[in-house]
Symmetry: C2
Subunit: 230 residues, 2 copies
């Protein structure tokens, strides 16, 4: 049975950058599953699999089509129970929802403004138009204004990572001795920044940097298959 | 076999207030275990069970003596596997360490300054001396100065709770449909504030308030067995 991952790309289809798609790439690698990648630009997202989701990633596995990175992870654990678990039980599923909310409100919200023009520059003209129009409508200001205000927000990042930093004194991954989907939730956000922008978010001697590097090394270094933005 | 919980109290031994001891009270109630409570003032903590821990809670269960609220929860799940789980699997254990670190760095650190003089006023004179001396040495300033600076920190609380608030749109407890130890980790901090101080930390219409009230209702309302500070 062929698995297909529909993932967001820009002009260079070899540089997928979506944080949510990276969560799924890591989840598939964690399960040891092989799959085909189907590159989707922003303006084609509504057409993926007859419009099943408003977003990517979308995963087709034979007859099953699933959208949303968390739902895909749940599907993979259910469909492939003999392969390494992504959640480590029902408690792990529930608590991963907290990690998802923490990552969205504390990490993603803090850095996304800094990435907007970098992302814009990676897109084809038709997708640039869509991206600017949709994001500026949502944000109520120009991409340039949001990027201009971003350094103050990015400064907060180091403090916002304190919970992860303190936890890393005890265990090498959010999942404990080994990574779980919870790690990939946070990894996806930092990988998005790594691929889109040369901005330095973390200090080299930060424990969070060491954790991120460990994540990049996982599963044959799949996270390093796309180089950091120069 | 008799279970004994050694828990911190002040002058009124019917008003245990330690956040970590409350985590254990909730964990014991969650497991449906009965136990005796042994009140310990600050200056007696080093003498509990021949000084096994530097802190309370300490739990004696027959021949087993365990200190630290997280270790006690792990012990209870291992010793009483047929009773409701506190973690929901290995993933739940690992991710609870993240919740613990989030709670310590984002919630406890934000509100503890506001509580210092309230706690001080609950203690016997000998414990007041110890508390002031040890905390002022740790903080490098007087209790009064820390309390004076606390309103600005407490203002941050609402934002720092954003991850919990967003998660609560999806599920009623951090543990999912039912609470797990992860809920009690955060509950313990807010219960500490509720018992020590009349300060209003949360708005009535906050989803986090609704969650905290649900936690107070759990297990026969054990959390309400001590009234809020007036």
């Amino acid at each position: 049975m062929t698995i297909t991952l529909y993932e967001l790309t820009g002009r260079d289809t070899e540089r997928p950058f979506s944080p949510h798609c990276w969560k799924t790439v890591m989840a598939l690698a964690h399960k040891g599953l092989t799959y085909e990648r189907s590159a989707v630009p922003f303006t084609e997202v509504p057409n993926v699999e007859n419009g099943i989701g408003k977003t990517v990633p979308v995963l087709r596995d034979g007859e099953h089509v699933v959208s949303d990175s968390f739902d895909i992870a749940l599907y993979l654990d259910e469909a492939y129970p003999d392969r390494p678990t992504l959640f480590g039980g029902e408690g792990g599923v529930a608590l991963s929802r907290f990690i998802e909310a923490w990552s969205a409100t504390q990490i993603s919200a803090t850095i996304f403004g800094a990435l907007l023009l970098d992302i814009h520059s990676m897109l084809e003209p038709v997708d640039q138009d869509y991206f600017r129009r949709s994001r500026e409508a949502r944000l109520g200001k120009s991409l340039e204004d949001v990027v201009g205000a971003s350094p103050d927000k990015v400064k907060e990042l180091a403090n916002r990572l304190d919970p992860l930093r303190l936890m890393l004194k005890r265990q090498p991954f959010i999942g404990g001795d080994q990574p779980l989907f919870a790690d990939y939730i946070v990894f996806g956000i930092l990988q998005w920044a790594r691929i889109c922008s040369p901005i330095q978010l973390l200090q080299p001697d930060d424990q969070v940097t060491a954790w991120f590097e460990r994540c990049l090394d996982l599963h044959g270094g799949v996270g390093r298959s796309v180089a950091a933005a120069a």
